[in-house]
Amino acid sequence: MDDALLRIEGLVKRYGGLIATDHLGLSIRRNELHAIIGPNGAGKTTLVSQITGEVRPDEGRIVFAGDDVTRLPPNARAAKGIGRSFQITSVFLDFTVIENVSLAVQARAGHSFRFWKQAAGEAILRDPAHAILAKVGLLDRADELAVNLSHGEKRALELAIALAGSPKLLLLDEPMAGMGPEESLRMVKFLETLKGQLTILLIEHDIEAVFALADRITVLVYGRAIAEGTAAEIRNHPEVRRAYLGDDEEA
């Protein structure tokens, strides 16, 4: 059987004259952590949005878990197990931390056409939410309004929301963006604990974090994959050194 959880074939997305995704092919195996690196404007976020369904590709196919999902709306793809975090933090600011996560748990825990019973009292929503908050280190902030969290805490909450839907494929769009070195380190450690439990597509500018975490790396430039391989292969790929890392690392 096909061991790729996600297969992308000949994907094209144009914005006017600009090609954001240029005949891209990509295959992500089950339970691997696959990183995508590339300069600003390379089309990384556009790729993520096409996988989640928020952006419609002009050409090509997206196959998830054996099903062609190219035409599926984003909420249906989420229901199939594609979860994402946003590059620009997108949490429910006027909800408490626990409500943020419970709401994401609720999307997978039976239907939401219940009008009388209070959601805050439902153990099947609260318990998984607590467990996830404990994992990302936000348990002591559970009853705080999300708007009062620090930037790093909001990033952690962003990830907690994505995890709460128990996705098979987790798309992380620069989870460490704007974090200090200490927070970044904690995030890397946390992502390490996730490795092997689910399939992760990680987009990240912090190249050392990527080399430390990724099983495989794809280098994206102008919407095209110019190289793909393991961390060691990518580190030494001549075209990558020229196009992305800059040739100043020779020693």
Binding site: N75, L93, F95, A107, A119
Partner: protein, 316 residues
């Protein structure tokens, strides 16, 4: 803080329960009519706050549902039907269908577009009522018989109408308070907070917004049916866009996303209308500045002056 708001609610309800007795003793039956009117408009304002304050849907055509509920009663009694169950059954069904129709075409849109579509539909119903001469057209229609429930409850009786309206308002408030904390309510509030995020975690906003819109429309339709019973007259004016504006002002005055604030807002608005209009027919000139003051100094409405809310969001 929580306790204070419970005490205030209980106090308010206690006062409202005493109104018929007090006005009877003091021989001021006019004030019973006034309070009944407040209670009925409070329903309309609460129904708007449910979708505006918790679903982010700025309906600028809510008076349409007052009209649908009111005309249901007016038209049925025109044909000699005064059974209350039929009156309110038809009012509920008709406002649900109208809300379903308007909602299907509007809840996908946001912001100004949603405002414009709801306004457009209410104006269409307004002109429809004007053009149907059988039911009085522009001149309106006298309600020939108030709703009678199984010969027991007769809404032609002022006290009974008042208590029925009060009970329905309290029931609606209870339902709304439960609803906003339920699974459905959490989804609705999530959509208001960040629709894009809700889609990304797997929700389809349309069906939740549509159902909330229908629930709200039905609540407002019931208010319309009660209003027809009070005035025993129904005319297209009840659906005029300025009516929708008044309902919105009530909700804003009292405080958006508070539910109970809408009750205070309705009382305040109608009370101001009552007192100020004695001095000048252009009393709304005075209302304008007051609204500005409320929006500037009490962003969460009059209720927030009495009961401070938990540290709230301030984006950006």
């Amino acid at each position: 803080m929580r306790k204070l708001s419970y005490i205030l609610c209980a106090l308010g309800i206690a006062v409202l329960f005493c109104v018929p007795a007090v006005t009877e003793v003091a021989d001021m039956s006019y004030y019973l009519d006034f309070t009944t009117r407040v209670v009925i408009f409070a329903m309309a304002a609460v129904s708007l706050d449910l979708i505006l304050g918790y679903g982010g849907m700025v309906s600028f055509g809510h008076a349409a549902f007052l009209g649908v509920g009111g005309y249901a009663v007016g038209i049925l009694s025109y044909y000699g039907i005064t059974d209350g169950f039929i009156h309110f059954g038809v009012a509920i069904l008709a406002s649900a269908l109208v809300a379903l129709f308007i909602g299907m075409l509007s809840v996908r849109t946001i912001g100004v577009y949603f405002i414009m579509i709801t306004l457009a539909f209410s104006q269409m119903l307004y002109y429809l009522a004007i053009s149907v001469n059988t039911y009085g057209g522009d001149d309106g229609l006298s309600v020939r018989g108030a709703s009678v429930f199984a010969g027991v409850v007769d809404l032609a009786d002022r006290d009974q109408l008042y208590y029925a309206s009060l009970a329905i308002l309290l029931g609606m408030l209870l339902i709304c308070y439960r609803l906003i904390g339920s699974r459905f309510g959490m989804v609705l509030r999530g959509i208001k907070s960040d629709e894009r995020r809700m889609i990304a975690i797997g929700y389809s906003p349309f069906r939740y917004k549509l159902l909330a819109f229908v629930i709200s429309g039905v609540m407002c339709g019931i208010a319309g049916a009660l209003l027809a019973n009070q005035t025993l007259f129904i005319s297209p004016a009840i659906m005029h866009w300025s009516r929708s504006g008044e309902i919105m002002v009530m909700a804003i005055l009292g405080g958006i996303s508070t539910l109970f604030g809408s009750v205070i807002g309705a009382g305040l608005y109608l009370g101001l209308e009552e007192t100020l209009s004695r001095f000048t027919p252009h009393w709304q000139v005075l209302l304008g500045p007051l609204l500005v003051v409320v929006v500037l100094f009490a962003r969460n409405g009059v209720l927030s002056l009495i009961v401070p809310r938990r540290a709230k969001t301030r984006h950006g």
